[in-house]
């Protein structure tokens, strides 16, 4: 029993000395994945998110005078762990950031009951844009269907698509299957051949069969919806089979600097659509450097901070913080709750001026959300790998949302019906 007495003393001393940092403020957990097969792509994003909030806490003391208690719960990208984290954090959390389409699908039906907003920037279920049906889910500033549309627009800009073939290399998982209906509809309308090639979760790192097929059919373009180890696998395989890189386009989660750094110059010309862009000279980066990196609070490193994913992490935290700020201004209180944050995320208006104020001009297109539009559909840029870094090679592309509005409405209605009774927010207009 002696050691317990000692322990008790140590405890008392610890408390008196005030080393116990009892975090308070707005509890905004992040269901992070720094372990498992997807960790390589997860870590830079998580670091970006974490550093932006740490910077605000250090520079401004949080948002609206209250600190943000940003906490990570490790999921390893596993759905079971994700649900565990969701259950653990939802008691006091004002937001859920699920970070995987699988976890999003699991927690989405519960949000109406638990009343916690889901923030899934650039991922999750595309019909979540329909705010009337998905009152608690937000995937601003862009969804997967927007990405699919912008990629096709860009490819059309390279020449007429009719009669051409687009191979769609995707992870055989809800995430990878997500844009297929939109691609199929566009293939019919524009007369190109659409050929989906699935990559199973177990064959992510060995895609020789898929690339053999690509070499045989010689598609004009390969569009990739990959994640984690699949991206590096596909890019090295493309280099090996000498597929022309300029005809290889990925979604925003397939544009990770480290994957392309593996092949370096051989990857020149590879493209990825993106709703965010890294700008090392942006004022926000200087602030992060000053308040987070120099004080040793950051888990990141120089190479990682120059990458697309780190900057995207910053953008994602910015969306959350802007939601908190909007809610604080509207409700006149710093300590907002989950319901109030929902209102905030629904009434985001991040204009060009606001981005300049935040020191993030050019890092994300300006966007706004509304009661019926939870995505914003603000478009993005086509980025190209120049052998050392990604560079913008297009103007600001805007998705043609009307093209799949009917499909989104149909899928949202289907979802509501399958999960009946499902409340619809009839108060929204338009």
């Amino acid at each position: 029993m002696k050691q317990f007495a000692k322990l008790a003393i140590a405890t008392a001393v610890g408390v008196v000395m005030g080393t116990a940092a009892i975090a308070d403020g707005l509890y905004a957990p992040n269901l992070a994945y720094r372990t498992g097969p997807f960790a390589a792509t997860g870590i830079p994003l998580m670091n970006g998110q974490r550093d932006y909030i740490a910077m605000l806490n250090a520079r401004d003391g949080g948002v609206g005078g209250i600190a943000i208690d940003f906490d990570e719960c490790e999921t390893g990208y596993s759905t079971a762990k994700g649900v565990e984290c969701y259950e653990k954090t939802r008691g006091s959390a004002i937001v859920t950031q699920p970070w995987s389409t699988g976890i999003t699908l699991q927690v989405l039906p519960k949000t109406n009951v638990d009343q916690i907003p889901i923030l899934a920037p650039g991922y999750g279920f595309s019909p979540m844009a329909d705010g009337r049906t998905f009152q608690w889910a937000f995937n601003a500033p862009s969804g997967y269907w927007d990405a699919a549309d912008m990629i096709v627009q860009y490819l059309e800009g390279q020449g007429d698509l009719s009669g051409k073939e687009i191979a769609f290399l995707h992870l055989d998982h809800p995430y990878g299957k997500e844009p297929i209906p939109v691609f199929e509809a566009m293939a019919e309308a524009k007369g190109f051949d659409f050929n989906p090639i699935p990559v199973g979760l177990t064959e992510m790192q060995n895609q020789s069969a898929q690339w053999l097929q690509i070499r045989r059919t010689r598609p004009d373009y390969v569009v990739m919806w990959g994640w984690g180890a699949m991206n590096a696998g596909a890019i090295t395989e493309a280099v090996k089979t000498r597929f022309p890189m300029e005809n290889f386009v990925g979604v925003w989660w397939s544009g990770h600097d480290a994957d392309l750094a593996l092949v370096g110059d051989a990857g020149k010309g590879y493209k990825s659509i993106s709703f965010s862009f890294p700008d090392m000279d942006a004022p926000v980066m200087a602030d992060i450097r000053k308040h987070v990196v120099d004080t040793g609070l950051s888990l990141s490193n120089e190479t990682e901070m120059q990458g697309v994913f780190y900057a995207r992490g910053i953008v994602i935290s910015m969306i959350l913080v802007e939601g908190i700020k909007t809610a604080q201004d509207h409700f006149g209180t710093a300590e907002i709750d989950a319901t109030q944050l929902r209102w905030g995320l629904e009434n985001l208006n991040v204009t060009e001026e606001r981005l300049a104020e935040l020191g993030m001009s050019g890092m994300v297109p300006p966007f706004s959300t509304s009661c019926s539009n939870h995505t914003g559909h603000s478009g993005g840029w086509m980025l190209e790998w120049d052998g050392a870094a990604f560079a913008k090679v297009s103007d600001h592309l805007m998705p043609n949302v009307d093209g799949y509005a009917a499909l989104a409405a149909e899928k949202a209605a289907e979802y509501a019906e399958a999960n009946a009774p499902w409340p619809i927010n009839e108060a929204c207009e338009g």
Partner: protein, 409 residues
Amino acid sequence: MLYRTAGQYKTSYEADQALFPVRQDAILLMVVLALAYVIFPLTASEFTFQTLLIPILIYSLAAMGLNILTGYAGQLSLGTAAFMGVGAYACYKMITLMPWMNPVIAILLSGVFSAGVGVAFGIPSLRIKGFYLAIATLAAQFFLIWLFEKWAWLYNYNASGAIQVPNLDILGVYVTGPLASSVTQYYVVLVIVTLLTLLCINLTRGTLGRTWKATRDMDIAAELIGINLMKSKLTAFAVSSYIVGVAGALFVFQWRGAAEPNLFEIGLSFEVLFIAIIGGLGSILGNYLGAILIVGLPVVLNIVGEIELHDVSLAVWVIIALVLGGLFAAAVSLRSKGTMIGVAVVTLLLVGYAFAQSRGFELHSAMIEHLNIMIVGSLIVFFLIIEPHGLARLWALIREKLIIWPFPH
């Protein structure tokens, strides 16, 4: 003292062959049942239901199904996850095709489909055994996952390829889907698991169980004394797959709420197999102990890792100290070296961690996850070294020692 069996006379064959011939066993079981049926539902938080109680019960059931096949009938199987998938998809199809169906009945019926599939994949067991059979069941694992992915009818042509559990009610109370409360889901799982456990205990004690054990121990000898091997093996596959299928339906309908095909990947098969092996092959109790270790422990460790130990009140520390001290004293008097070492290591880790925390040390969530994997892994090795026959055998040894305590041999 606690477990004295002296004076408990059996005066009839019924009494001698009762499920629990020793009175203390029956009392212990009553305590466990009272905990499960009354105390837990009254006290558990939403988090405890969703991450500990419900999953532990469901994994135990799946392991029990596998244990019938592997532990009792001696047929090694690596296709458990796929059979769970068959149960889950069968349940989903039944409920979407016939929305008027009672969800509990649908869950119980879904086992019938997996039993059918299980028997079909069990046919090779008539010719091959051991590792060769494991490979044959592995084929089931890969084939069925492929089928779940490619046969769009199974998931109602959903674009994402995942199945979503609808809200279903019995007499106005939601039993499945996001609207169902955790307590309701827990009770549904608990009742089904209790009933199937009772069924399994009795089956393994009866004629069928004896033929299975004879087949396991030496099939040629079994055949010589007149056991029909085909019947014995195929019934084992049928009963096992039925239970595994029901576990799969519960897994998706009462716990996960949604599922994609890769949920039933081989990793899940191995997890269930580990539960059965660590719990103890050829035992019913072992499945529960194994599930607590493999499913429950990581969750508990995660919570412990994140607690600010110096914020814990003194009363809790006293309780922890008493429990650890009591366990250590018991281990000393039972001369169980393994338990002694175990308790000492746990105490050291706890004290060390608390001390480090009081010095301002903080564990990052990802680091906790890494440590968690290491601790659970080493515990598995530890338990297998001190008792290769599993946790159930460990408990049996402790029980035997308790019966003669305080006079060891």
